[in-house]
Amino acid sequence: MQHHILKDFDQAVNTLRAEVLVMAGLARMNLERAMRALFERNLELANAVIADDNEVDDYERKIDQLGMDVLVRFHPVATDLRLVVASMKISMNLERISDHAVGIAKRARKMSQGPELADVTLLEPLYTLADHLLRDAISAFSDRNAALGESLGARDKELDRMHKDVTKVFGSRIEESGRSADYLHLILIVRSLERVGDMAANIGENAVFLDEARDIRHEESRKHAQNGD
């Protein structure tokens, strides 16, 4: 894309985009560290995730301020307007992902105080898929790749299915294992991972909007409504 006639505009927009990518890196790292704290029973790592969440919160505020600044100063239209809108929406989703990482870290901290639980490993494939969804959502935004962004919804369904299956397994073990508190923690961690997948899909939708100005949100609901389902 050509340079803007106002140099400040290019700088403001590039800064906005860069801050979203930094925030996305932090949110993804927090999730990764929270899961590692759980798998490795690492109390220190769990505490670090909880402490570092403030930084992600600060980025959300900063991105909103930058977006407002671009809107007020430059009145962007078309792709520039979509970048501002998408950035602000994506930062909101990233902040929530980091909140889920904090929730997982807190549960990891509690679980690390009791004996090891082998079933924790059942979470690995869910985390791997959630992390890949998040990675690809960020790439879809960064590379303006609508096809990649649009693909996330279908892949998130697989995560939903895994969430359902694993929750069922953990639910059945609550009573039989005698460790109901730990299995409740695991059920809620699985729920967090499923929500991370939803938010990655949301970011994918924002990437489609950014790249092609298409609003693909709630398309399935609309189709069902049209078919009278």
């Binding site: 894309m1 340079h3 803007h4 006639i5 505009f9 239209v77 078309a78 979509r82 092609e212």
Partner: protein, 268 residues
Amino acid sequence: MSDHVFEAPELPECARGIPAIQVRGVDFSYGATQVLKNVTLDVPANEVVAFIGPSGCGKTTLLRCFNRMNDLVPGARVTKGSIVIEGADINAPSIDPVRLRRHVGMVFQKYNPFPRSIYDNVAYGPRTLGEKRKQTLDEIVEESLRRAALWDEVKDRLDDIATGLSGGQQQRLCIARTMAVNPEIILMDEPCSALDPIATGLVEDLILELKAHYTIVIVTHNMQQATRVSDRTAFFYLGELIEYDSTRKIFENPTHRRTEDYITGRFG
């Protein structure tokens, strides 16, 4: 109030849905310099259409073609194509430009009231067309000033000199003067470029109200203004019509790269 003077005539069944202005393959030159190249577009009735583009792109030239204002420029002429208004090719030899301008009024960038009273400014057009009855002229002046959202501000000083009004009031007076001869189409050439934001807001509100009665074509360099007042936007570049679509489409997701570069401020 005599309704017949102001209400736009209802179109016959066969003419409904027909564009107010039909431009077909128009080339235009100033002497040897071609400034419009094969321009084709329709301006739907009772809509506001904005022409945007960098200086020298031909947007004002096309606007001035619609009421043959370019006839006043030596060597300026449509060299190909046609412009049809109300079923008539306006460049046909049988068309009287003065009569055409009664149907296609124009508001200019710099407000230009005559150095006469407010009343006389508005009554000028109808008088030129032969209207002499005082009561009818009074009605026309009042209705035109009401439509221009100026009546309440000037009704007690209609005999004051027009050039004593504020800039925004003078521009709305010029719009009232244009409406006084009951045109079907109003052309506006950067009508707010000399106005402050408050006066601009009043003129923009007026444009939105007027489209119920008139078809409006506006040339503007202010793209926010185009997004606020127009239903459709045409982007011109180097004499070519690059893109013409709903204003929302043009400013949210234009089809052509050159349009996108222009509206986002990336014109190299």
